[in-house]
């Protein structure tokens, strides 16, 4: 267990000694730390209910920590309200599909640019970028999102998230409830984001195989505390030892 991971290099998102809970005396996370390196996929693994999602919610501001610090680019963001955090270059894709079912694809994606809605030029440019990234969405731009398939809905969600050009994307179990074929597609999208656009991704997942395949650095949580961490190769080696995979 290494507590001075801060020495490792160029960190964009730093979480230190975090205590978070839904109830004042009952902390789900008890002194968790997490550091995400720029341009890398940092994956957080752990069993059900150890607080992985809680960590992401805390980072994005849905929950306020009782203690600890969260820094983005070296600055604490604890006092920034949730809906302002997106302007700091942070983005969040929740576990449940978070799209606007009755609005069209185009409107959904445009809403991603809510924070710079008065900048018509930039909106148009980003929309165009997204349609190039996901050509299928251009075809269905006028359709209500509710009518699309699950994978396409994730695509819309991702496109919307990318409107703001976030530096860090927090992704919470992106493939929960998706068909097997689609899962591969989604992970490919995440990989592309890192490789082609240099995004920093914090990925929380249950799908260990897929997640490890694209991860760069791995944290494993156990009951609200850090258990192990390390570059993906080390972790895979450890896991192989432990589980014979």
């Amino acid at each position: 267990m290494s507590t001075n991971g801060a020495a490792r290099g160029n960190y964009i998102l730093e979480v230190e000694d975090l205590y978070v809970g839904y109830y004042r005396d009952l902390n789900i996370l008890q002194g968790v730390h997490m550091y995400a390196e720029k341009g890398k996929i940092t994956t957080i693994l752990g069993a059900n209910g150890v607080g992985k999602s809680t960590l992401l919610k805390a980072i994005f501001g849905f929950l306020r920590p009782n203690a600890g610090d969260i820094r983005l680019n070296g600055k604490s963001i604890l006092d920034t309200p949730t809906h302002k955090r997106i302007t700091l270059g942070l983005a969040y894709i929740p576990q449940h599909m978070s799209i606007f079912r009755w609005m069209s694809v185009e409107e959904n994606i445009l809403l991603g640019g809510w924070t710079f809605r008065h900048d018509k030029e930039r909106l148009r440019r980003k929309l165009e970028e997204n349609f190039e990234r996901f050509p299928i969405l251009r075809e269905k731009r006028k359709q209500p999102v509710g009518e699309l398939s699950g994978g396409q809905q994730r695509m819309v969600e991702l496109a919307r998230t990318l409107m703001t050009d976030p530096e860090v994307i927090l992704v919470d179990e992106p493939t929960a409830g998706l068909a097997k074929l689609l899962k591969r597609e989604v992970y490919q999208m995440l990989r592309d984001l890192r490789d082609n656009e240099g995004k920093t991704i914090v990925l929380v997942d249950q799908e260990i195989r897929h997640a490890l395949r694209i991860a760069d650095y791995v944290y494993i949580l156990d009951l609200g505390r850090n258990k192990t961490e390390g570059p993906v190769e080390e972790i895979v080696a450890d896991l192989k030892k432990a589980f014979w995979i």
């Binding site: 839904y22 109830y23 849905f62 309200p81």
Partner: protein
């Protein structure tokens, strides 16, 4: 022997019962105040039976007054058209209320809290309008007359010996009948919520599916609460209006219903006794607050408001507060809801009645519920402001 808070509660209960019994004496047998007391008890029964429905099972019925009227009209029509004696009609009226309550209860089963509120408003209004329109059958807006009860001779004599001032004025028998009904109804509801059913009620309210999984028959439990509380309302209405002699459809207006709700909420809708005490408190306050004596200097200043289009109603050094007293209660209702959700009276009762073991279980239960609540999508969305740390809500 160690002093326990519960003793205070018992002392207060005894004091209240003694006060209830001696009330006509306390007000010097003045017919007006005896009548006010009787009416207060009537509202207390309605408020506490409404709290059985709303506070215990979470069904917000706005048709409580309508059920009260339904029973009374049924009894009145049984007497008028079928030649029933008043006491027979009372039983008949209560049974009819029960049957209609059963039907409405079943119809409303699948409805969420808001839809149920809307449905019961619709039912209450339809019933009131129909009663008003069917002049030939119900007497329409003129109301339906009901004969007063006559006690059998032996009972009359017995009551006379127990209550020496039985014949002092016509409202004394009415008051004691109502008081008896009040105690009986509260006792009955109290026993009901302390029994197995009480736990069912709460379970259904907190989480229907979980309750069903535990083997609670959700349908029957909800309907039972609906029927019981409607029947109690009907019973109270029948008895009260037999003594008053007349029921008019305006008695069932939504405005009257909102008064009952205000009474229950300010007293504490989670607690039968709290709701009843709230009703008594509010009814007496409303009577007292009809006019407020103010210093003449203040009154003179108030009169200037009339030039600005206000209607300040003054007479002989007294401010008439017909509208403004209700404004006060409306404000009290909203503040109570916002800051003391359990009402103003019931927390005191709870504090007195609470024992250590119960307390910790309740707290843990609360904690678990709060966690669930936060996972809820809505709660998450609303955390967006992230201004405040999650406050414990207990």
């Amino acid at each position: 022997m160690k002093f326990r808070r519960i003793y205070i509660l018992w002392a207060l209960t005894a004091l209240f019962l003694v006060g209830l019994i001696f009330y006509p004496r306390l007000v010097n047998l003045q017919p007006y105040w005896v009548l006010v007391g009787m009416t207060a008890l009537f509202y207390a029964i309605l408020a506490s039976s409404w709290s059985l429905l709303a506070g215990y099972t979470g069904q917000f019925s706005f048709a409580h007054m309508a059920f009260m009227g339904l029973g009374t009209y049924a009894a009145g029509i049984l007497i008028r058209d079928m030649g029933f004696a008043p006491w027979q009609a009372t039983i008949g009226g209560v049974l009819i209320t029960g049957v209609v309550g059963l039907i409405i209860g079943y119809l409303c089963l699948r409805l969420r809290a808001v839809y149920l509120a809307l449905f019961t408003i619709a039912f209450a209004e339809i019933f009131r309008l129909v009663v008003k329109a069917e002049v030939k059958f119900t007497g329409g807006p003129n109301g339906l007359e009901l004969p007063t009860y006559t006690f059998p001779g032996w009972l009359q004599n017995l009551l006379r010996t127990i209550v020496p001032f039985w014949d002092a004025n016509v409202y004394i028998p009415a008051y004691y009948t109502m008081a008896f009904l009040f105690v009986a109804a509260l006792l009955f509801m109290f026993l009901l919520v302390r029994s197995r059913f009480g736990i069912f009620f709460r379970a259904v309210r907190e989480d229907e599916e979980a309750a069903a999984a535990l083997g609670v028959h959700v349908v029957n439990t909800r309907v039972l609460a609906f029927v019981v509380s409607s029947m109690i309302a009907g019973f109270a209405g029948i008895v009260f209006h037999h003594f008053i002699g007349l029921i008019v459809p305006d008695q069932m207006q939504i405005g009257r219903m909102s008064l009952i709700i205000a009474m229950a909420v300010i007293g504490g809708s989670q607690n039968l006794i709290g709701a009843a005490l709230g009703a008594i408190f509010i009814h007496f306050s409303l009577e007292w607050l009809q006019q407020i004596p103010l210093p003449t200097a203040v009154l003179q200043h108030l009169l200037f408001l009339n030039d600005w289009g206000f209607s300040v109603d003054l007479h002989a050094g007294v401010l008439r507060t017909n509208a403004w007293r209700m404004v006060g209660f409306g404000l009290l209702l909203m503040l109570t809801l916002r800051f003391w959700q359990n009402g103003l009276i019931s927390p005191i009762i709870d504090w007195l009645a609470r024992r250590e073991a119960v307390e910790s279980v309740a707290q843990r239960f609360q904690a678990e519920r709060d966690m669930d609540a936060v996972d809820d999508v809505q709660a998450i969305g609303s955390q967006a402001e992230a201004g405040n740390p999650q406050e414990p809500t207990s």
